[in-house]
């Protein structure tokens, strides 16, 4: 049985993306990330999608600035390969994580896509130490062949412009 079946498959729907549908998608993504089912996570993306963790707030065009990460499809794939390789000491083992996403707001949308903002708390634990990463996440979701896909995910950590630490998992 695949993990997706364990978690519950996305239900194919049509029409305008509702807040409820977007929230369910983001919860499902959060569970995939906590379980480190990264291959399935990759399948949630459009090929042209961008995964971004900026450093500065209101920095405008992310491509013209330095980010914590700025991943296109190739980099996402390489990142997943690295995290699951067993040869990266920061991710073998990685910290365990439990994350919650809430405070969903639809900030823009049309018939084919929607932008959702939400709060994200990640609690991580490794080697006797528990730490928290909190941030605002912004998703651009589109419907393709009845399924929602990520066109863009940006996580702005509340302390992204301060000192962080080595993060051996996906946020």
């Amino acid at each position: 049985m695949s993990t997706l079946e364990k978690i519950g498959p996305a239900i194919a729907r049509e029409g305008v993306i509702t807040l409820q549908e977007a929230a369910e998608f983001i919860w499902r993504e959060a569970e995939l990330l906590d379980r480190q089912e990264y291959q399935e996570w990759l399948s949630l993306w459009l090929d042209e999608g961008l995964y971004i963790v900026p450093i500065e707030r209101d920095q405008g065009d992310n491509a013209a600035k330095l980010n914590v990460l700025y991943d296109d499809a190739e980099m996402r794939k390489a990142r997943v390969k690295r995290l699951k390789s067993g040869f990266s000491i920061s991710s073998a083992p990685s910290a365990r994580t439990v994350r919650t996403t809430s405070r969903f707001v639809l900030s823009a949308g049309d018939e084919a896509s929607v932008e959702v903002r939400c709060a994200q708390h990640i609690v991580e634990y490794k080697f006797e130490r528990t730490r928290v990463l909190a941030g605002d996440a912004t998703y651009r979701l589109v419907r393709r062949a009845g399924e929602l896909k990520m066109e863009r995910k940006e996580v702005l950590l509340i302390n992204s412009d301060d000192a962080l630490w080595g993060v051996g998992y996906l946020i």
Partner: protein, 422 residues
Amino acid sequence: MDIKVRELRDVSDLVQPDRFDTSLYTDPEIFDAEMDRIFKGTWVWVAHASEVPNKGHFVKSFVGKEPVIVVRDKTGQVNVLLNRCRHRAASVCEQKRGKTSVFVCPYHGWSYALDGKLRAVPHASVYGDDFNKADFPLVSLRVEEYAGMIFATFRADIEPLVDFLGPAKKWIDLFMKQGAGHPVKTLGEHRFRFSGNWKIQLENTTDAYHFPIVHKTFLDSLDADTSNVFDVLGQGGWVEDLGKGHSVMVMIPALVDLEENLEDEIPERFRELADELRSEGYEEGEVRKVVRAVGGSGFNLNLFPNVACSMAFFRVLRPISVDETEIRHIAIGMDGGPEAGNRVRMRLHEHFQGPMGFGSPDDAEGWERVQRGAAAGEDVHVLVNRGIDPLIGHVAGSNVTDVSAETGMRAAYAQWKRMMSA
């Protein structure tokens, strides 16, 4: 300025030429003494000139544990001021960087000019006639600059910066060729902390030995050509002690001088950039210069005690406590060169560096493992005895050791011993 140096037992026997005592990582008393004798006793890197390009620009930094403001005043001079009001000690600046004409203490409103002079004190009459504003400027450190690298020191009596850098200057000059004919500017930075002693990070910048092990997953993420470029142990590189705790580790000899070999074939990973530059109208010579500089230099220059010119970025360490250290990986690029080149530099920087890079988290994990392991075996030494004998007949001279030798660490610990025993 008088520097109060705390009493410390004799630590000179803790460092031997090829090993040192574990207490250098774990003893808080030694850490406190390091802050006095090393970080308040020598030149400490505080900023790059491009972070304060114009009059009024400032950036916060640290000298050891002490917070400072690096600011360019209205005469264009760079001042390094302790971030502490002379009245009741409140910090006068809590903005990371910016532009201002004055620093005003938020507590009682004392205001300071950009050279540190106390300009105004609210309700000054209560102080009486003998109160003289000239007696209470922000404390100002001695500042000198080489090739855009700004250093500060608490000490008036130590050598000029250029003498402190000595043979390292040649390597700084080579490193700055990454501007491809333009001045170098900073492009942003990654900051992260690890639970370990600052010297573990200092060692790492001159440690090629760990690279293929710790960074296997980074190497695996590269195309075959680039992976060969980063085969740092297999290209005849070397490490050289440059004196005063400084050292250089050359990992990619072909990339020591970025103005040479411009006619070489453009590596595949930079062909898209080369095409983009050509389409923007850049001449072929300029395209090749930019493309060759974009990937960074083939060496790490480690400057004791807190900064490195590391391949394509500045690596700055800040000791926080005996077992906590903050690292900044400052991206650099061309000031005035093609923006496309700087974009590629930032994507390359993100690939390896920072809290979620393909390299830094594994480095940080390794360093934390050193600190955790150092809790065991108080009487077991830490070894830095790898590659002591110079290489015979090496092109770089008679005084260089294998690229994976621990020569740079021995250089740093010899300087540590000199400064801590003085």
